[in-house]
Subunit: 329 residues, 2 copies
Amino acid sequence: MLKVPDHQVAGHQARNGQLGPLIDDSGRFYKPLQDDDRGSKEVAFYSSFSSNTRVPDHIRRLFPVFHGTQLLEASDGSGLRPHLVLEDVVSSRSHPSVMDIKIGSRTWYPEASEDYIQRCFKKDRETSSLSLGFRISGLQIYGNEESGFWKPERKLVQNLSAADVRVVLKKFVSSNLPVDPNSDPDCSFAASVYGGSTGILAQLLELKAWFEDQTMYHLNSCSVLLVYEKEKVLKGERSDAEVKLIDFAHVTEGKDIIDHNFLGGLCSLIKFISEILTSPDECTTKACLRDSERDKEILTSPDECTTKVCLQDSDKNTNYSENGTIEGM
Amino acid sequence: MLKVPDHQVAGHQARNGQLGPLIDDSGRFYKPLQDDDRGSKEVAFYSSFSSNTRVPDHIRRLFPVFHGTQLLEASDGSGLRPHLVLEDVVSSRSHPSVMDIKIGSRTWYPEASEDYIQRCFKKDRETSSLSLGFRISGLQIYGNEESGFWKPERKLVQNLSAADVRVVLKKFVSSNLPVDPNSDPDCSFAASVYGGSTGILAQLLELKAWFEDQTMYHLNSCSVLLVYEKEKVLKGERSDAEVKLIDFAHVTEGKDIIDHNFLGGLCSLIKFISEILTSPDECTTKACLRDSERDKEILTSPDECTTKVCLQDSDKNTNYSENGTIEGM
């Protein structure tokens, strides 16, 4: 029996008669192919990738398993439509905390149409993509049985400042309720979810090493999904934290060049997560997604977090002496 | 006695009454400050960087030494003008081979004016910056006493294909004459110039590790200079290959974010140089900077260099069967 996924945090959604992905009870995720060439491009990528013997196993694990395509009744009632058949990466979890992060400061690529390039260029500048090298496309964080999930509006999370992204990444691994703006994220799951030899950071570092070397694919506008189950961590069970790459409708051939755009953005995300692991108690803040100016002030005031350098225009207070050094610098 | 530098390969040049940098016999390089804010910005960067105790010594070595500023007669005869006083990085060399590589797929930055952004955006797309993550801004390769330097036109080298960049990076470390289009670059200096514990690759990797961590500066539109002396290598002396970062007129504060744009481009350059070290004999070609289509064919035909993946639009030859898999893939 096909149904609408409960834990989708970004992308088209199959609600209210819209076209979107479906899941079944066997752990499969059915993603409808768009009418334009995005759908066929994503099929082409999955076909190439799944049969590419040069992809090492530890990297293949970071991608959803591909089971071909299948004609299914589309969720918008428009009749039969081809769907990608993929692994449903959250199927084994009851209350998964999920974050969808679109990687790269640039989501367009040279081969795209000028119209597409201009639209992406505008959005990359309007969101945090340009400054951070990635943008959060959507997220849900499980609180508890009573509070359920905290699922902030997507528009709100796409353009977070560095300070706000830090807070969200902390909330993602904290035991206190994410929805409560007055509680400091305690980062109490940071070590078990982000850290450790199989945690999210270790998986991202494996991905990074591969991107430093592979010149086969450029994963334009692709996301990493971070997933884990809070209840498992609370029970002291081994964390099931997972990284999965998704959304390959704009993949292009690498042509002997590494994907420096994806790699740069990935390294930026890695730096954010590393910092939480090395200093989880610093830079905490009570406010999040409410008063970014106040956040910024609180977040950047501890010494550990400031990296103040002075690069002000020195024109106004600089005098050049004829004998050499600058006065007034 | 101030004079025009002999070995400048990019940037404004002090010839024919133009404004440009000067050198003296003491190993100093005098760079005139532009009238707009570029000059003062570069002074601000050097001042900040030279007094920044958080920059480790092994990284500081990769930047020219800063000796303040000085008022000097400008090379264009316009009178006294403040100049940056820097280390002349080629002063101790008689016939340096030099390559200036502007790092980053994006040379603009959010704080710049819209006009500047649009001009850079256009140039990044027209040159190899966007595709490769860097562009060669200029180079000179020493052949021998008779042939002198090979110094291709700057416009020609800014938009090289991946295959052509590979050839140029090989010519840079080859004993045969760079100007001869019919001789395969033999890469006979690759191990001593690019390789080794103090070679160019090792220096670039140190820089990379720093950029993965530092969030103080974003080096927009900055170049790495690769320099070495062929004669030293020929004599079997220890290679004096050096990496120096230059051009800081567009540096901005990092604001707790790594410079993912510089880092991505740097990783792309590192990949090119690593490949030459691991397989210098493969992918050689006779043609360079002449017939890029032919180059591409020759360069990509050996198995070691191809990374063919099939990402063609599969629309036209794909039939979707109702029972599942795609036919015709």
